[in-house]
Amino acid sequence: MVIPYQCLVARNSPTPNGSDWIIVGASGSRIVIQSHNGAISTWPEQHAQSRDQEDDGAQERPGKRIRLEQPKEQKSNFSSLVLSNDGQYLVGVTGEDKTIRVFQIDRQNHLRQLSERCMSRRPSSITLTSDDSTILCADKFGDVYALPLLPSPDDDKVEQSETPAIEQPEEKEWLPSATALTVHSGRNRKTLEEQLKQKAKGPAKSKEPMRFKHDLLLGHVSMLTDIVCTKVDGRSYIITADRDEHIRISRGQPQAHIIEGFCFGHEAFISRLCLTPSGRLVSGGGDEHLFVWNWQNYYLSEKLSIKHSVWAYLETLPGQSYLGYLSYESFKIAISGIWNLPSSEPNRIGEEIVVACEGIPALFRFFTTGIGLRVSGGTYIPLSGNALDVAVMGILPASSTMVVSIDNIHKPGSTTEAREDKVSRLQIFSQQQDGQWQEDASMEDALKSFADQGLDEQVERASDDGKAVRDMLYNMENLRKRPGAED
């Protein structure tokens, strides 16, 4: 079986006779890309294709060519994909090797990796500034770095000659930190002794420093889970969310050190942020509700009752045995995605958002009005397997199309049990005149071979009983704090 698409992104640009679109998915360590004209390719390229390329580009820059066409075997799985606003670049993060990879999407729809930058901490979320110049990378250690999307040779030179003072802790040569006169706790004294011993042996091996331009913008002392940026009335903002229930609003560069405020209200981890076209902020994670914020005033304007909606949906399913012994109170959800949809009729009943929860075979729709604090319920779109990711395309003249990545290897409703039956790795819905979503057979046809491509799971599964794949697909619930942690 082929590993499902753990990440899915799409972009479309309207043209006189419809629209040009591309869709990109990551299946394990492999990327698959398809455009509206049906051309499809993968990265790393398969042999047949790379042979073609070799012939094409034999004349130019032989040194570079060799490096590009023999990528060292890349085994890390992609944890996020972001398309640039102009649709020309793709930024991917591979988790295990903590690397940010920038690809150019050429006319033939092939991906060419332009750079790979290995961060010192594992990135948890990335985004691009609205002008596509800068990658903002939020990491598991709580820090946010700015990196140029396309580093200029000058940038990297600067970085090699001069180590920014901010990172001295990791990169500076070691000095003994205390003298015999310093007052110590027993522990500190021990550390000092160890350090003096270490000094005799020479400086400790520190981590490989990041030898490329990267600016530390801000940081939480908590794992960051999501980052978004936006510009309102000429002011740019960076919004960050962490595992300790914080949503922080900071100014954008070059004043990202200034915190403007916090949106307080969550009581469990936050896993996802989503800005709507009208500028509302929707957040969700381990809580029973999604929160809708008038974030420039740090004001909670609406609650959407996601847990209730999920429960109501599960009750309609036949044979959901686990509902039998779970009470509503002990039932927990973990939001894994929130997407806004360009509505065909904006502001009729509010802005439409779609939500996925870990291990749940459905998507949940809500309309946010942002008016008054009220709790609103949602409706659901049942799926043939757990929802993993959603790519939204605004294909004209039909209003919107949603491509949903389906977990084809675990049973619906479970994040651990293997699935025996075979289902498609994609489900595609288009919005009808009446606003309802319906499966779109013609798009399913158009994306048929895209739906089949990917990394074969046999390779992966052999060694660890599928744990690696499971951890890649489902890592939100792990963010929940366990009560009774040590003092």
Partner: protein, 290 residues
């Protein structure tokens, strides 16, 4: 970490005896509250913290300053408001001692700023309990003058949750006295001062407010200086503020003077004849935003 059972029982009995001995209001004894020196600021302690500053029960900490309730509670909204009011105080905390330890500085500052609310924040449970007991005892002992009603202490991991306690620009002074040095390189993010944490200090401090730092570890002093000086929201204060002039440091800021001698660690350093490094930083006005 709780000690061996016998020790734990002794501690519990002692604490119980303190509680039943209201009249005498004996000061607590430190030996019953000692605790392993380092708490890990990254772990999920079973901490309690308010969801937001508005949810904080300040009246519980400063009962003399509890806001008087007014009006009748009608429908749900008003009831909620009334509840919020019941937790509020007529004044906001303006001075925070972060990592206050056994609270020496707090008790020295309280009579010096009788009209200002002062809060100690400490991550170690048992040390916090000691300070709370001492506050309680001193309030009873000084009931006639209402002394020490303006000082209190809570358990908190400030590195994660400072903005849960204080609004933007609420504080005028923050003290970081003898912070844990975290010598090991890989633990440097555990230090209470860093470029990124300084943004949080800047957030809760009002422009013109001051962060006070003191340490006996020169490396840590250099570290704190560098990280504050690099942060665009702060500038180092004038020399006179930190040192004053002449032998007895005339003109030195009153709080610097207090911090040099009244903190527990400051006293230990004094006894060991070690050196103390002071550095204070003023919160600047935020620059214009396009």
């Amino acid at each position: 970490m709780p000690g061996e059972p016998a020790k734990r029982t002794r501690r519990e009995e002692y604490k119980k005896s303190l509680q039943t001995d209201e009249q005498n209001a004996a000061l607590p004894k430190k030996k019953f509250y000692r605790q392993r020196a380092h708490a890990n600021p990254f772990s999920d302690h079973s901490l309690t913290y308010p969801i937001s500053p508005a949810d904080m029960d300040w009246a519980g900490l400063y009962p003399m300053y509890a806001k008087q309730e007014t009006g009748e509670a009608g429908h749900a909204d008003e009831k909620e408001q009334k509840q919020a009011k019941a937790k509020a105080t007529s004044k906001d905390v303006e001075i925070a001692d972060i990592g206050c330890g056994f609270g020496g500085l707090l008790f020295a500052l309280a009579p010096k700023f009788p009209a200002t609310l002062i809060l100690g924040m400490e991550i170690r449970t048992s040390v916090t309990e000691y300070v709370e007991e001492k506050v309680r005892a001193l309030r009873v002992q000084n009931a006639s003058t209402n002394g020490y009603q303006n000082v209190s202490c809570i358990r908190a991991n400030t590195m994660k949750f400072l903005p849960n306690f204080f609004q933007k620009s609420q504080l005028s002074k923050i003290f970081l006295c003898f912070p844990d040095p975290h010598f090991k390189q890989r633990k440097h993010k555990a230090r209470i001062v860093s470029y990124t944490l300084n943004s949080e200090y800047a957030y809760v401090l009002r422009p013109g407010g001051v962060v006070y730092t003191i340490t006996d570890v020169e490396d840590l002093h250099v570290w704190m200086r560098e990280h504050f000086e690099k942060h665009p929201s702060f500038e180092r204060v004038e020399r006179g503020f930190e040192d004053g002039v002449g032998e007895d440091g005339e003109g030195m800021d009153e709080c610097v003077r207090t911090m040099r001698v009244e903190t527990e660690e400051g006293k230990k350093v004094e006894r060991n004849k070690g050196s103390k490094f002071v550095a204070c930083f003023r919160r600047l006005q935020d620059p214009a935003w396009p």
